[in-house]
């Protein structure tokens, strides 16, 4: 247990980096995901195609490959960015594909009559999406979005493989010094579990708040 308590500062720093990665990447992924989902349901064929290609490409390439491509490849074409920034952007763009898909199926779950009613009131594409369809789809997408948040939290650990010292990397480093794997890895695992159960709790509350009863 000494190995754990003696290295709490290092592990704590790792946890903070994991939290920063998670929150920043989720914020970025939400913005990009809303844009991609909008493109995929828009009346503009080029945008629909671009949205589909984006989702298909990002969902079918492993995140680790994208991270390595960005971290080691971008400097080769003259794009210099910090390690942490690169990791946040890549994880955000990767998860945006999943968020876009969740939003799109949420949009599809809204009855067609709602869209027709919005148009009958004179709302255009953006108007009916923003004021009528998206708010109603929120209730159904909370659960999938919560799952994506948990997936994102776990995926931030892949940043360890390209050199970001977040929780997983911190645990590994401490273990290399202390050689006491059980308490250290169990401690890190418990931290991840607490994060996910917090997310699960929040999504549960939100789902009850946002549910639309028809």
């Amino acid at each position: 247990m000494d190995a754990l308590s003696g290295n709490l500062p290092a592990l704590w720093d790792g946890l903070i980096v994991t939290l920063q990665l998670t929150l920043l990447a989720f914020a970025g992924a939400s913005v990009a995901g809303i844009l991609v989902a909008t493109a995929r349901v828009s009346p503009v064929p080029v945008l629909r195609a671009a949205g589909t290609v984006y989702v298909e490409t990002l969902q079918n390439i492993p995140l680790l490959v994208l991270l390595i491509l960005a971290v080691f490849g971008l400097p080769e074409i003259g794009v210099q960015a910090g390690l942490f920034t690169t990791a946040v952007v890549v994880i955000a763009l990767y998860q945006a594909a999943y968020i876009a898909e969740a939003l799109r199926s949420g949009i599809n779950s809204v009855p067609a009559g709602q869209g027709e009613a919005a148009r009958a009131l004179g709302l255009g594409f953006t108007g009916s999406l923003r004021h009528v369809v998206l708010p109603q789809s929120l209730g159904t997408v909370v659960q999938p979005l919560g799952n994506i948040f948990i997936m994102l939290t776990m995926n931030t650990s892949l940043a360890a493989a390209v050199g970001v010292v977040e929780l997983t990397a911190a645990a590994n480093r401490v273990n290399l010094i202390e050689a006491q794997p059980i308490p250290i890895f169990v401690g890190a695992g418990v931290a991840y579990m607490l994060l996910s159960s917090l997310v699960g709790f929040v999504t549960g509350v939100l789902e009850r708040r946002l549910a639309v009863h028809r």
Partner: protein, 288 residues
């Protein structure tokens, strides 16, 4: 046009068509500008030189990468088999009438679902050898992937088992089958058919997870790419080729999942209608 399009806009009139044309033009220009920017950036740094791409038109490079792909597929198939077997047992445990079994299976799933696969890989790489369990390289990748994916497969199987109507197992028990026989002969076959699309898409996720071989230094596709890039110094080209190989393999699998889903949605509708002829109803749920 699909259901989505009907939800948000009607058949366009002249004005809407003009608007759509303008938006098409603008977005096409923006996309082209982005592509041009990327090409310029590549060209300005000499990454588009034919000499830097030419190696990937030769067989030895591809033979090496395809060898990596073979190892990737091997690891994925073995992990998938182990994870599915484990997942099935866990799912059966979660619907078991015995409380301790239910509790144990539930705890496993809830705990493992929230632990990153990379952390499990580190445990196998750095913790187990200390306790005298030094697995061969292949298993250092396969074991953590199986452990973590078993939880995901368990959730899929459980959802499938619960989706089979109660009447089915009641009927099984009523004709004198034991609980085990009912599960094996009546519930599981129906559940398996229903969850097939989810199984395929989870397998895509597992195939993506095998890229952790990079950390284990098991020579699967990504690690082979790393070795190759260290050798020929064509870093960006190599990783782009590797990414494209992953894309082709996974996109084919995802396509298979969607085809299965479409076919199943059709079968479900026909079963509901009680008639064998396929109805031409709108398919709102299809893209869910």
């Amino acid at each position: 046009m699909s259901a989505t399009s009907r939800l948000l806009f009607d058949e366009p009139g002249p004005r809407a068509r003009r608007g759509t044309r303008a938006a098409t033009l603008v977005s096409a220009l923006v996309l082209l500008a982005l592509a041009a920017l990327a090409v310029r950036q590549f060209a300005a740094n000499g990454q588009l030189d034919a000499a830097r791409w030419q190696p990937y038109a030769t067989w030895p490079m591809w033979r090496y990468l395809l060898g990596g792909l073979w190892s990737t597929l091997l690891a994925a198939v073995v992990s998938a088999a182990l994870a599915m077997a484990g997942g099935l047992l866990l799912a059966l445990g979660r619907v078991s009438p015995r409380r301790p079994v239910r509790w144990a299976a539930g705890t496993y799933v809830e705990v493992v679902r929230t632990i990153p696969a990379l952390l499990l890989v580190y445990v196998v790489l750095f913790a187990l050898p200390r306790y005298g369990l030094d697995l061969p390289l292949f298993w250092k990748l396969v074991v953590p992937l199986s452990v973590s994916n078993a939880a995901a497969f368990a959730e899929i199987f459980r959802a499938g088992i619960l989706s089979v109507e109660r009447g089915q197992s009641e009927a099984g028990l009523a004709i004198g089958l034991t609980r085990g026989q009912t599960m094996r002969l009546i519930v599981l076959p129906q559940a398996a058919r229903r969850v097939l699309p989810s199984i395929v898409s989870q397998s895509v996720g597992l195939l993506k997870d095998t890229s952790l071989g990079f950390v284990v230094s098991y020579a699967e596709l990504l690690y082979s790419g790393k070795v190759l890039a260290n050798y020929n110094h064509l870093l960006i080209q190599t990783y782009i080729v590797v990414a494209l190989v992953y894309l082709v393999v996974n996109a084919s699998l995802s396509k298979l999942a969607r085809t299965l889903e479409t076919r199943q949605a059709g079968a479900a509708r026909r079963a509901e209608a009680g008639a064998p002829k396929p109805p031409a109803a709108p398919e709102a749920a299809l893209h869910a």
